[in-house]
């Protein structure tokens, strides 16, 4: 069919407009960089997932940094944790990345391998930044293949939070310190009032997914784990892993010490509502528990048959790919200020996290009882950051471990077989 002139013109206009739009979208338009100016401070955007109770503390510290000098000005961009990865990657691809981003240590390898963040070894080589005073675990969480990509924002350990009221009601006065003690105490703390097989009160809230790796220290404490210490080999079929998961699956499935397959949010809600006597969680949960009216105790997590390893985590300041050098160097000033002695004391008191530095004395942070507990020397000496520097570490968790754990807790096969399948998946992810 041959079109008359007018439809052809209309079609040509459409095509032309489309082409123009595409060209306009693809061309490197000289958009104004808000941080690019000749006078005044270098303006930096800092995108962070600190959107919970610690957000006001971060905001206050950022404001204090801005007021403390006139060379660098940081704008804090709080972004929900479940979308921050997506936003960071898209902004880097679009050439509009923030100058500083928060990255969980577990995800650092993914960012590095994607080419999304810059190496910051020069930050660590400058003695003025006092990086030697930082805790080893916090610094290790920002390294990959012996190269520094992150400066610590926060460091935490997972401690055993326990509800003194529920323990007292069960005739107990202290939390368990070993698996054996847990096994003895749990029946007293697990209450099924109406006998329907679904307890109204649980001994512990163990989250299986979308959470801190609550099961992970249990595996470590039996000599097992998901991956070897060098992060190269999946260890889901190691005897320690099988023994640990067999013990805890029995506790959860048969003895009902915890609901099976909870998310982290479910576990938190259970503990905060007084329906679970214990939870292994980070320092952010302690003030929330007190606010919820719980008579709170904080103890070191119980040891396993093999050793005691305490779960730790760290978050890092990273500089995305594409951020120009002047902004990266300006960001170093903010990193150094954040990790300075006085700032870390304020951070610890305000947010309840242990300080990133080793030289902050307990007496300096005594206004908040939790940093000293979560950062006690006996805890720090056993702290291990989960999946730090492990290639595809977060995928090993999400694609191999969590489905396997859910299958085990739903009795969807033999434990050894499920773990063998998961081990294969994990190893292929590590090798990929």
């Amino acid at each position: 069919m041959k079109l008359s002139t007018t439809p052809r013109i209309a079609a040509a206009i459409c095509v032309g407009a489309l082409a123009l739009t595409s060209v306009a979208a693809c061309s490197a338009s000289p958009t104004e960089d808000p941080g690019q100016q000749t006078d005044g401070p270098v303006k930096l955007e800092y995108m962070s997932f600190f959107t919970g109770s610690d957000q006001p503390v971060v905001e206050a510290l950022v404001a204090e940094f801005n007021a403390s000098q006139d060379e660098v000005e940081v704008e804090f961009l709080p972004t929900p944790g479940d979308v921050i990865d997506q936003k960071i990657m898209q902004s880097i691809a679009g050439g509009d990345a923030p100058d500083i981003v928060s990255v969980d240590s577990m995800d650092l390898a993914k960012y590095v391998e994607a080419g999304a963040v810059q190496a910051i070894d020069d930050y660590y080589s400058d003695p003025a930044n006092e990086t030697a005073a930082l805790t080893t675990a916090a610094v290790g969480g920002g390294s990959y293949d012996a190269v520094h990509y992150g400066a610590p924002i926060s460091f935490f350990t997972a401690m055993l939070l326990w509800n003194k009221g529920l323990f007292e009601a069960a005739g107990l006065d202290a939390p368990p310190t070993t698996w054996e003690e847990f096994d003895q105490m749990a029946p007293k703390l697990t209450v099924d009032e109406n006998g329907d097989g679904v307890p109204e009160q649980y001994a512990i809230a163990l989250g299986a997914k979308e959470t801190l790796a609550m099961y992970q220290p249990l595996l470590w404490n039996a000599g097992g784990g998901l991956v070897s210490l060098d992060g190269k080999t999946a260890t889901l079929t190691d005897p320690g892993t099988i023994d640990a998961i067999t013990f805890w699956a029995d506790q959860v499935v048969n003895k009902k010490v915890s609901p099976a397959g909870m998310t982290g949010a479910d576990a938190d809600a259970l503990f905060l509502s007084g329906k679970a006597a214990m939870e292994m969680i980070g320092p952010w949960a302690a003030p929330a528990a007190v606010d919820a009216g719980i008579d709170l105790g904080v103890a070191e997590p119980f040891t396993g048959p093999s050793e005691r390893v305490t779960l730790a985590g760290a978050t890092q300041f990273c500089v995305p790919t594409g951020v120009e050098e002047s902004h990266r160097l300006a960001a170093y000033k903010f990193f150094a200020w954040w990790n300075a002695h006085d700032t870390q004391a304020k951070w610890a008191v305000g947010a309840g996290f242990p300080p990133n530095r080793t030289d902050v004395e307990a007496s300096e942070i005594s206004d908040n009882p939790y940093p000293a507990l979560f950062g006690a020397p006996s805890v720090m000496s056993t702290a291990r950051v989960y999946m730090a520097g492990v290639h595809n570490g977060s995928l090993v968790t999400e694609e191999a471990w969590v489905p396997a754990l859910e299958r085990i807790l739903n009795q969807d096969g033999e434990i050894e077989e499920i773990l063998a399948e998961a081990n294969q998946t994990a190893q292929s992810l590590l090798d990929n």
């Binding site: 007018t6 439809p7 407009a17 329907d196 097989g197 509502s273 329906k275």
Partner: protein, 318 residues
């Protein structure tokens, strides 16, 4: 410019535009209609081209590459499509999606038609009930999914508590159960969209001539017989529309799965779009995610074509 003759035969200067006006070219009705159609459609077509067609073409290209959004795409030929053949997670997601689409579509067709028939009768507070039925449709799906997650939470959920009270305890919880999670997600999907499809059926019901019902009554047909022998066949056009729309919506299910179960427990509710999201934004494998997206397009195309062929043969005019 040219010269012509006036009424009295004198020469008159005629400008080009005047000549054109005096001798308009006649367009055939078909061409005229085509021109008008194109003009009216052009804004929508332009938007469609920019926001749908171009991304689809781009995704087709990316499906033949390895691409992590940061580095430039690297051509890998058919590798992503070969990977799809061996990917058990994809096979699982396709099966889950088809189950969701089949149950969800049949469920929503049956329920919205039945609900429309009820809402088409007169009863007290009818307007209020109609509003209540439609309300979930205009609520954000994420909000709906979050609300249902709380309601179904076995430890703190109101609905779980009520079910426990009447002896239907869900134990570890609906959304954590490998048997109940998918039915729960489907139910929420049906509940969310029921109001919209009910409105379509209501419009269809109100366009059926009353005489047909009167004639059926005279012939001795009762209400149930009239519904199944008269109403249901005469709503075939609406059923086609609802079935196609519901299928397209259901095959693309993502929001409530992402919020309510994240595809779990152990991938029992994982769907194609959830896998696309995970492949792209979690694994940063946008090439593979694009390849799966094109598989989704193919599935949608086949399902829509089958439905169109089936219902076209049963289209009604009255």
């Amino acid at each position: 410019m040219a010269t012509s003759q006036g009424a009295k035969g004198e020469p008159v200067l005629v400008l080009g535009w005047q000549r054109k006006r005096c001798h308009p070219r006649r367009l055939s009705p078909k061409t005229s209609r085509l021109r008008a159609s194109l003009l009216f459609l052009s804004p929508a077509l332009l938007a469609l081209a920019i926001f749908s067609v171009w991304p689809m073409i781009r995704a087709l290209y990316l499906s033949f590459t390895e691409y992590n959004i940061i580095r430039p795409p690297r051509w890998t030929g058919l590798d992503n499509y070969r990977q799809m053949i061996a990917d058990s997670q994809l096979h699982n997601a396709v099966v889950n999606t088809l189950v969701y689409a089949a149950v969800g579509t049949v469920g929503v067709v049956v329920m919205s038609m039945g609900l429309a028939a009820i809402l088409n009768t007169k009863f007290p507070l009818r307007s209020l009930v109609r509003t209540a039925v439609f309300l979930p449709y205009i609520t954000s799906l994420s909000i709906v999914a979050i609300a249902w997650s709380f309601l179904l939470n076995p430890e703190i959920g109101l609905l779980s508590h009520w079910l426990n009270e009447v002896g239907f305890g869900t134990g570890q919880g609906v959304l954590r159960s490998p048997q109940l999670a998918m039915p729960a997600v489907i139910a929420v999907g049906i509940w969310k969209n029921l109001g919209f499809y009910t409105v379509i059926y209501l419009a269809g019901l109100q366009s059926i001539p009353r005489e047909l019902y009167e004639a059926a009554s005279v012939d001795g047909a009762g209400p149930i017989r009239r519904f199944f022998k008269l109403t249901v066949p005469l709503l075939n056009n609406q059923t086609l529309l609802v079935a196609v729309m519901a299928t397209i919506t259901n095959v693309q299910v993502f929001d409530q799965v992402y919020v309510m179960t994240q595809g779990g427990p152990f991938f029992k509710t994982d769907t194609i779009v959830n896998l696309i999201y995970r492949s792209g934004f979690t694994k940063l494998d946008f090439g593979y995610a694009s390849a799966i997206s094109w598989l989704l397009v193919a599935i949608l195309g086949v399902l829509a074509a089958v439905q169109m062929i089936y219902f076209r043969r049963r289209a009604v005019r009255y």
